[in-house]
Amino acid sequence: MTVPPLIKREFKEYAEKHRLSPQEQEKLMAIVEAVYQKSTYDPEEPVGVVSAQSLSEPATQMTMRTYHFAGTAGIQVTLGLPRMIEIFDARKEPRTPTMTIHIDKEHQSIEQVKKIAEQIKEVKLKDIVVSNVIDLTDMWIKCRLDSAKVKEFDIDAASLPKKIKLRGAEASYEGGNLTLKSKNLDIRALYKMKYALLETHIKGIKGVSQVVVTKEEDEWVINTLGSNLKQVFEIEGVDYARSFCNNMFEMYEVLGIEAGRTAIINQAQYTMEEQGLGVDVRYIMLLADLMTVDGEIKAIGRYGISGQKASVLVRASFEETKKHLVAASVRGEKDQLKGAIENIILNQLAPIGTGAFDLVGRIPEGFVAEEEEETTGKKASKTPSGEKSKAAKEKKHKKVKAAKPKKEAKKSKKSRK
C-alpha cells in the first residue's frame, strides 16, 4: 500500500525544506510508509457500526433548538439534531433551503454584487404595491404601485400586465396604477383573485425570499433563503464552481451524484461542527458513500437503504416485519446469511471483526495430548485459565491458542518502535 497523496505532498515539502538528498529521502520515506501502514484499518473491522455510533452518540448531546442565526447574515437555518435527521432522511426539500453564492473575480465590486443579489431576490407584486382597492360594482381590483420601490427594484411598470396571468381577468397599467378587471361576477372569486394577484411573481428567482450580501474573507458572498441553483448559475458573474446550496438533492440534480455526495459530507460536517462536536470526516464520508453508491441519493431508513437490503431477516428485524416476511415467502427469497444480524438470529458466529476468521491451530511436532484422546474435540479448543495454567501453557507449548489475526494486529500496534 502506498502512502496517500496528502502525506506524499507533505513529505515533499518537508524534503525540500530540509534539502534532503534522494538517499535520505528514500530512507525517511520507508519510515513514513511504516507509520502509515500501522495506522491503516485492520481487515474485517466493522467500520459501518463504528461510523453509525460515532455519528449518533454525539447527536444525543445536540440541542434540539431548531433555529439559529447563521452568522451575522441574519438568515435562520435549521441546525442541530433536526437538521442531522433531515440529512440522513434525505428529504427532497430541507426545512430551510439556503444558497451560498460566490461571485467571480470580475464582479467583485460591491455595486456589481448588489446588482446580482437584486437579480436573485424574488419580487412579488405585493412588495411594490402601496395599497389595493376592490370595486365590487365594476368588479375590478386597483393596486397603487410604490414608485420608489418600482425604481429600486428596477421594474418596467408598463410591462407588468403581461406578467399577470390570472384566468378570467385582464390587467392593465396606467399612471402608477395597476388595474385588474374580472370577467365574471363572483365576489368571492374576486377576493381570492386579489391574493393571487398580490402573490404574482414579478422578478428574480422564485422561492428566494431573503438575500443577504456579506463579506467573507475579502470576498463578497451572497447568502439566500430559498434555493434554485439552476437559475442562479445562469446569472452572469456567479462563480458556479464554488456556489452551493444546502439541498443535496438539488446539488445532485444540477451537478451530479458526486456533488450530491460532497453536499451530504459538507452539510453533515457543518452541522456537527456548529454544535462543537468533533467527528472524524471519514465516518461522514462512509455514510455519504453508502447513501450515493447506486448513483442516486437514498435515505437512511425504511424507504431507503434499510428497506432495500438483500437479507430478509435484516429487513424484517428493522421495521415492517410482516410485510417483509410475507413478501419473502411469496417470492421464494433466499437469505444468504452473510451479515451480522442474520447470524445473531440463528445463534451463529457473525462474519465480522474477529468472527470473520477461522481458527487454525498447529500442534507442535511430537506432541501427544494425553487427555485429548479420551475427550471430544469440543474440549480440545478450551484451554485452562488461571495464571498457573497459563504459565504451564507457555512452557509446554500445549496449544497454539486462538491466534486470531485481530489479536496479533492489536498487539503489533502496541509494539511500535
Binding site: D42, S56, D289, S317, F318, S385
Partner: protein, 832 residues
C-alpha cells in the same frame, strides 16, 4: 460449539401436502380436555402435538419438556379460506391473469418491447382474447369482479390454472398461487402456545389456543351444516366466521376487522403481533437476549483503582462463576479451589451438574478428574466486561480486571467515567463474567480499557482526568507551588507512586509532575488557563499558560484540562500514540489522577458563599453596567415605537428589535463578567474555571452578579397573557424586565418573577432533553441498521454483506481514526 452451520435460509409458501405431511394429528374437535382434565385426542391440545406439562412425555417423539420441539396438526377446512396476509398478492394475481385461461396478461407478453411490463390491466386477454372484467379488492378479504363477489373457491380454481411458466414472470417463486387460498390449515404445536396452570388447578390457555378453538368449532359446524344441506345464507355466515377467526389468528390488527378479544376484553395476540416490534420475537428474543453470569449494582468512585480495574463486591464475586476445565495441568489448582470453597458447581463429563456443599466437598475433591468442569467463583485479576446503558458507543462496554472489594457497590476510577457517561449520583452499571476462552482472549486483547483510551469517533482521548484530579494537578504545577523533600515524598507515597527523589531540598510541583512523564516526551501547547492576550509572548507567558515539555520534563506552563483532561488531553493523546505499550498511558492516567487528588487533599479545596463576595464599589459598577444595558434597550424600544429603528437585513422590524435588545443585554452581561473576572477573590471557584475542571466564568457571573436573559426557543420570553408575560405587567411592555431578563445573581437572590422565568427556562431544558433522547435514539437505530454490515476488507475497501463496494479505500486513505492523531498521521514525529 456448533457442529454445523446454516448457510442459507429459504422462504416459501406451504403447500397443502406439506401441511398434511408434517402433521401428526388431524384435528376434529374443539374440545380441549375431557371430564378428568386430560387433553382430548383430536382436539387442539392433543398430546401428540407436544408436551407442556413437566413429567409427561411426548406421544410422538417421546421427548420430555424441552426435548420435544412440538409437532403440527392439521385441520381440514370445510370450505377454502383466503390467507389474509396474502390478500395483496391475491389481488395482484387476479388483476394480472385472465379470468378465463389464467394466463399472464401483461402488455409486454405480446409487444416487442419486452422488459417493460405494464401494470395496467388489459381489456382483453392477449392469449385467449376473452373480455376482462374489473377486479376490485375490498379490505380485509373480499374480492369483486364488476360488483359480483368472487368466492375463495373460484379464486382458487383460477389460480390452479396459472401455468408454472407464467409464475416466474409474475414474480412468484415461493410456490403455487393456489396455496394462498387455504384448504388445509396447520394447527400449531402446543409447545408454541403453552397453557399455564393457575393456583387452584384452573387452566389458562394461550391466545392462539383460544383462536384455534373458535376456528375448529365454527369449521365443524360449517361442515355439519353442509352435510345436512342447510340454506345458503347460513353457510355463508359460517364461512365468513371461519374466515374471520383464521384471519385474526394470523393478524389481529387488520384494518376493517374488529379486534378479536379475550373474555376480559383484552385484544388477543395474533401471530404477527408475536413477531412484531420491539418486544416481539425478532427484536425482543432473537436479537436481544437476557443473559446469565451478569451482575448489576450502584457504582461509586475509587481513585486508587487503576483505570482498567473494577471493584467487585465480595457477595457478587461469590455468585458469578467462570468455568474451569479440569486438565492434567490444573487439576491441583482446581482441587485447591474446591477445598477453599471457591467452586460453586462441578460438571461431570456425563452432563450432571452438582452443587458443591460442605457435605459433598470431600467426595468431590476425591472424585474430580480430568474432563470435569468446575464453575469457580470470580477471582481477583479475572477479566470481565463492564457496561453502562444506554450503550451508545463501543466504549460503553469495556473490559476491566476484577478487584474484590468490601461493601455492595462496584467501584471504578473516576477517569473512566467519560466513555461510559457515568457519574455517581446513583448510576448503576452491569458486569458480565466471560465464559469462554475465546471471549476472554478478545476482551483482553481488544476491549481492555487501556486499548480504548483513544475514541474512534474523533481520534482524541476519551479517558483522562476529571474534576478534582485536574484541579489538583493544576494547583500542583502552578509556578508558586514549592514542596520540601519531606512533603514531596509524602505526596508521592499518598498517591502510591514509587520514584526516587533526587537529592534536593525543595521541589517544584512541575518537577513532581514530570516524574510521571515518560522520558523522551517533547511537546509545546497552549493550556486551558490561557487568557487569549492580544500579543502572545509564548514561553514568557505571565499566566504560565504556555506549556513546554522537553524530554519528559515540564519546563514551563500549568498542566490543566488541555493537557490531561478527558476529550482534550494533549499529553494523554501524545503518550498513547507515541508509546507502543498501552501500559504507559494507563499508568500515566492512574498516577496523575492519584497525584492530583493527593495534592488537593493536602492543600484543601472548598468554596463558600463568601467566595462570591464583591466590594461595594464593584457592586456599584455592575449595577451601572446592567442599568446601562437596560437603558440602551429602552432607547431601542422607543426608536422602534417611533419607527426609527435600524432594521437588520432580512428581518422584520420586530425581529430586528428583538435581536438588538438581546445583543445589548448580552454585551452588558459580558461586561459584568469581565468586571467580575478582574475583581473577584481568587478563590477555588476561579481555580476550577481556569483549569477547566468544572464550571466557567459564566457560572461565576450568574452566581455572583447577574443571571441574564432567560430564553424560550432561543427568544426572549413571549408567552403568557395577551400582549404581556405576567399579569402585573402593562400590556405591550417590551422592556427587558418584563420579558425574562434576570438582573440579579443567585447569591443575592431572584425576585419571584425572575425565579418564574428562570424556571420556565429550566422546564424547556427538561422537555428538550426527553424529546432529544427519543429522537436521537431512533436515529441511531436507523443508522446502525443501514450501516451494520459494512466492513473493511483485506484490500482496505469497504463492502457490504453483498460484497458490493461502498468505498474503494476506507475513509479515502485507509487510515483508522482510532490509530490516528485526531484524524491525522503525524509522521514527522517519527523522524528524528
Amino acid at each position: 460449539m456448533a457442529l454445523s452451520k446454516f448457510r442459507e435460509l429459504e422462504f416459501s409458501l406451504m403447500s397443502p401436502e406439506l401441511v398434511k405431511n408434517m402433521a401428526r394429528v388431524r384435528i376434529v374437535t374443539s374440545d380441549l380436555y375431557d371430564a378428568d382434565g386430560y387433553p382430548v385426542e383430536g382436539g387442539v391440545m392433543d398430546p401428540r402435538m407436544g408436551v407442556i406439562d413437566p413429567g409427561f412425555h411426548c406421544r410422538t417423539c417421546g421427548g420430555g419438556i424441552g426435548d420435544c420441539p412440538g409437532h403440527f396438526g392439521y385441520l381440514e377446512l370445510a370450505k377454502p379460506i383466503i390467507h389474509v396476509l396474502y390478500t395483496k398478492f391475491v389481488y395482484y394475481l387476479l388483476k394480472h391473469t385472465c379470468r378465463k385461461c389464467s394466463r399472464i396478461m401483461t402488455v409486454a407478453a405480446k409487444s416487442p418491447k419486452a422488459g417493460k411490463k405494464s401494470t395496467a390491466t388489459a381489456a382483453k386477454c392477449p392469449h385467449c382474447n376473452a373480455q376482462q372484467k374489473k377486479v376490485t379488492f375490498a379490505k380485509p378479504y373480499a374480492f369483486y369482479e364488476d360488483k359480483e363477489e368472487l368466492s375463495p373457491m373460484t379464486i382458487r380454481e383460477r389460480f390452479e390454472k396459472i401455468p408454472d411458466g407464467d409464475l416466474k414472470a409474475l414474480g412468484i417463486r415461493g410456490g403455487r398461487p393456489e396455496w394462498l387460498i387455504l384448504t388445509l390449515f396447520p394447527i400449531s404445536p402446543v409447545t408454541m402456545r403453552p397453557s399455564i396452570t393457575l393456583e387452584g388447578g384452573e387452566r389458562s390457555e394461550d391466545d392462539l389456543t383460544h383462536k384455534l378453538v373458535d376456528m375448529v368449532r365454527i369449521n365443524q359446524s360449517l361442515k355439519e351444516n353442509i352435510d345436512i344441506g342447510a340454506p345458503e345464507f347460513i353457510l355463508n355466515d359460517l364461512w365468513e366466521l371461519v374466515q374471520y377467526h383464521i384471519s385474526t389468528y394470523f393478524d389481529n390488527e387488520l384494518t376493517g376487522v374488529p379486534l378479536a378479544r379475550h373474555r376480559s376484553g383484552r385484544p388477543l395476540k395474533g401471530i404477527v403481533q408475536r413477531l412484531k416490534a420491539k418486544d416481539g420475537r425478532i427484536r425482543g428474543n432473537l436479537l436481544g437476549k437476557r443473559v446469565n453470569f451478569s451482575a448489576r449494582t450502584v457504582i461509586s468512585p475509587d481513585p486508587r483503582l487503576s483505570i482498567n480495574e473494577v471493584g467487585v463486591p465480595e457477595i457478587i464475586s461469590q455468585e458469578l462463576t467462570i468455568p474451569e476445565y479440569v486438565t492434567n495441568l490444573n487439576i491441583k489448582h482446581v482441587k485447591e479451589l474446591l477445598r477453599s470453597g471457591k467452586v460453586n458447581y462441578v460438571l461431570r463429563p456425563d452432563g450432571r451438574r452438582i452443587k458443591v456443599s460442605e457435605d459433598n466437598k470431600k467426595d468431590l475433591i476425591d472424585n474430580l478428574t480430568i474432563g470435569w468442569t468446575a464453575d469457580r467463583q470470580l477471582q481477583e485479576g479475572d477479566i470481565i466486561i463492564f457496561n453502562r446503558q444506554p450503550s451508545l458507543h463501543m466504549v460503553s462496554m469495556m473490559a476491566h480486571r476484577v478487584k474484590i472489594t468490601p461493601y455492595r457497590t462496584f467501584r471504578m476510577n473516576p477517569s473512566v467515567c467519560p466513555p461510559y457517561n457515568a457519574d455517581f449520583d446513583g448510576d448503576e452499571m452491569n458486569l458480565h463474567a466471560l465464559q469462554t476462552e475465546e471471549a476472554r482472549t478478545e476482551a483482553e486483547c481488544i476491549m481492555d480499557v487501556k486499548y480504548n483510551i483513544k475514541s474512534p469517533r474523533s481520534g482524541g482521548p476519551v479517558i483522562g482526568l476529571d474534576l478534582d484530579q485536574i484541579s489538583g494537578i493544576f494547583l500542583l504545577t502552578k509556578k508558586t507551588t514549592l514542596l520540601s523533600k519531606e512533603d514531596a515524598s509524602q505526596l508521592l507515597a499518598e498517591a502510591g507512586i514509587e520514584a526516587d527523589l533526587p537529592d534536593k531540598k525543595e521541589f517544584t510541583g512541575k518537577e513532581l509532575f514530570s516524574m510521571l512523564l515518560p522520558k523522551g516526551l517533547n511537546m509545546e501547547y497552549k493550556a486551558n488557563c490561557c487568557e487569549n492576550c492580544d500579543d502572545c509572548t509564548r514561553s514568557g507567558c505571565e499566566h504560565d499558560a504556555w506549556v513546554i515539555i522537553k524530554n519528559g520534563e515540564v519546563k514551563s506552563g500549568c498542566i490543566d484540562a488541555k493537557g490531561v483532561g478527558a476529550f482534550k488531553g494533549k499529553i494523554i493523546s501524545k503518550i498513547d500514540t507515541l508509546y507502543e505499550d498501552s501500559e504507559e498511558v494507563k499508568n500515566f492516567i492512574d498516577r496523575a489522577g492519584r497525584l492530583g487528588i493527593a495534592f488537593l487533599m493536602r492543600r484543601g479545596f472548598s468554596l463558600g458563599i463568601s467566595d462570591l463576595d464583591l466590594d461595594s464599589s464593584v457592586h456599584m459598577r455592575i449595577d451601572q453596567e446592567i442599568k446601562k444595558a437596560e437603558k440602551e434597550s429602552n432607547i431601542l424600544i422607543e426608536k422602534f415605537k417611533k419607527k426609527e429603528l435600524k432594521i437588520l437585513p432580512g428581518l422584520t422590524a420586530e425581529a430586528s428589535l428583538e435581536a438588538q435588545i438581546m445583543n445589548t443585554l448580552a454585551s452588558g452581561v459580558s461586561n459584568v463578567s469581565d468586571i467580575i473576572a478582574d475583581n473577584i477573590k481568587k478563590s477555588d471557584i476561579i481555580v476550577m474555571a481556569k483549569s477547566g475542571s468544572k464550571g466557567s466564568m459564566i457560572n461565576t457571573t450568574q452566581m455572583a452578579a447577574v443571571v441574564g436573559q432567560e430564553t424560550i426557543l432561543g427568544k426572549r420570553i413571549k408567552r403568557g397573557y395577551m400582549n404581556r408575560t405576567l399579569p402585573h405587567i402593562r400590556p405591550g411592555d417590551l422592556s427587558p424586565m418584563s420579558h425574562g431578563f434576570v438582573s440579579r445573581g443567585f447569591k443575592d437572590g431572584l425576585t419571584p418573577f425572575e425565579l418564574f422565568w428562570n424556571i420556565m427556562n429550566g422546564r424547556e431544558g427538561l422537555m428538550d432533553k426527553s424529546l432529544r433522547t427519543r429522537k436521537s435514539g431512533y436515529m441511531q437505530r436507523r443508522l446502525i441498521n443501514a450501516l451494520q454490515d459494512l466492513k473493511v476488507q483485506h484490500d482496505l475497501s469497504v463492502r457490504n454483506a453483498n460484497n458490493q463496494i461502498i468505498q474503494f479505500m476506507a475513509g479515502e486513505d485507509g487510515v483508522d481514526p482510532t490509530k490516528s492523531d485526531n484524524g491525522k498521521i503525524n509522521w514527522k514525529e517519527y523522524i528524528v
